[in-house]
Symmetry: C3
Subunit: 208 residues, 3 copies
Amino acid sequence: MDALAQALILLDYAAVAVFGASGALAAARRKHDIVTFAFFAAITGVGGGTLRDLLIGAPVFWVHRPAYLAVTLAAAVAVWIFGWGQGRERFLTWLDAVGMAAYAVVGALKALSLGAPPLSAIVMGVLTSTFGGIIRDVLGEEPSVLLKRELYVTAALVGASAFVGLNMLGVGLMASGLAAVALGFATRAGAILFHWSLPAFPGRAPPP
Amino acid sequence: MDALAQALILLDYAAVAVFGASGALAAARRKHDIVTFAFFAAITGVGGGTLRDLLIGAPVFWVHRPAYLAVTLAAAVAVWIFGWGQGRERFLTWLDAVGMAAYAVVGALKALSLGAPPLSAIVMGVLTSTFGGIIRDVLGEEPSVLLKRELYVTAALVGASAFVGLNMLGVGLMASGLAAVALGFATRAGAILFHWSLPAFPGRAPPP
Amino acid sequence: MDALAQALILLDYAAVAVFGASGALAAARRKHDIVTFAFFAAITGVGGGTLRDLLIGAPVFWVHRPAYLAVTLAAAVAVWIFGWGQGRERFLTWLDAVGMAAYAVVGALKALSLGAPPLSAIVMGVLTSTFGGIIRDVLGEEPSVLLKRELYVTAALVGASAFVGLNMLGVGLMASGLAAVALGFATRAGAILFHWSLPAFPGRAPPP
């Protein structure tokens, strides 16, 4: 359990850093200044977990642990300094996949540990891992990750559901956590590598 | 009072289902997959009440009662299966009018019962009944219901104000609730049937 | 201290009024009705402080003090009546600069007084003074203040950082508050008058 707790904390900081970097890259795309870099990095890095904490009534995780904000600032500075390149794009896409898979499980675990029922815990996992990116896209006026056909929310859903499901079946935290991160990551990897997607709505759509 | 409480709970679930369906329809419009349907249904269905609960410091209503989330999922599946049609559009518009009128009163009642002053309770009623749709439009990148000239926020305001006003005048909960839902609904019905609107700002506008 | 507390409360109401007016002007730009004026005025006027209070776990400041909402309504009515004019635009820009500078300090002070660490208090100051405008732009579908190159978030950051920094150095509340408001205002004034800006990201940007 101690090792798990430590692994979770590491994953948590890693996910904040990765999402922070993706926020800074949104700022880079529009040639912004360093303060806007930091603003986007912070909002993207801690946004999902912030919503989760507000919804479950927990103290917002970063307010009394400024190391989280410091990590997003470091991510903003790193993106500023190292800039961008094709190799880095692929690196970040994969890092984001790891962060997303980790966050879906961390979010669901925190909700479960505060007594949320299974369905709510799954929703918290999904929100934790996707909401930072959603705010980043809305504020940056970019096409939302929500509106892309590629699996993203679905991968978070797979990971969070697997974790909560295995947990209900009595599988230990460590095993269900690892299996769920792996499943969520594999789903996202399939989306990145093989463009996996779910069938689109086949019915008649309302006029726009 | 018992009958009122039960009626309120029914109205509450009905409003969540209706708003959930309107979220799923926003996803249908863009030919999304079932997960995105569910995501939009959930956010639209519970978004307004979530904001209200956060603002008045109450536990967020759906977190420990997953039936609400289940209702939004059912709405998403129903939209997926039954698709869309002209008759259904009118049906949903009217269902949405009922949901909006109900939610404006439910939201104001919850705020009053937690000790909020009248003006704040009115604002909570308006937010509860309109914020889900606002988030749906922002995330779905559709023209916001806020920016249409048709009366929508105004109908919520009429309902919530009537409820709080009648309540302050000493009218019983049941009577003021029914009258307020009727007034809010009638305002919205006038907007749908007769395109009622308030006068636009007549002054000089600042340049865009 | 008493004079300071009174000055802070005055600044608080003044900032709510100014931000409320800027929300109403966003509605004026699109020729909306008076209810939409009021909606935008309220959201812009109290939005930043609301987010701050949710994040630090304080009761949301306006819920039990409806005078704040009344001030935003008055601002909406004032904009409706007095309309717009070139002279007024400049007046409002400068009023907004005062409000922003005041709010950055008020926000940071409230966070500090509730035990937030320095870095978090600075972030709260920045959010308090900028988030209302950000929501206004997102809901009004206008180019976000975040995406302009002109210093705005930076001015809030200068003010909040100066206040927290002076405070940590042992400077009294009154002196550090006044100095910080002056610094934040001066930064914004430089942006307005001389188009001050920070260097843009010099690196290669990712493709859009």
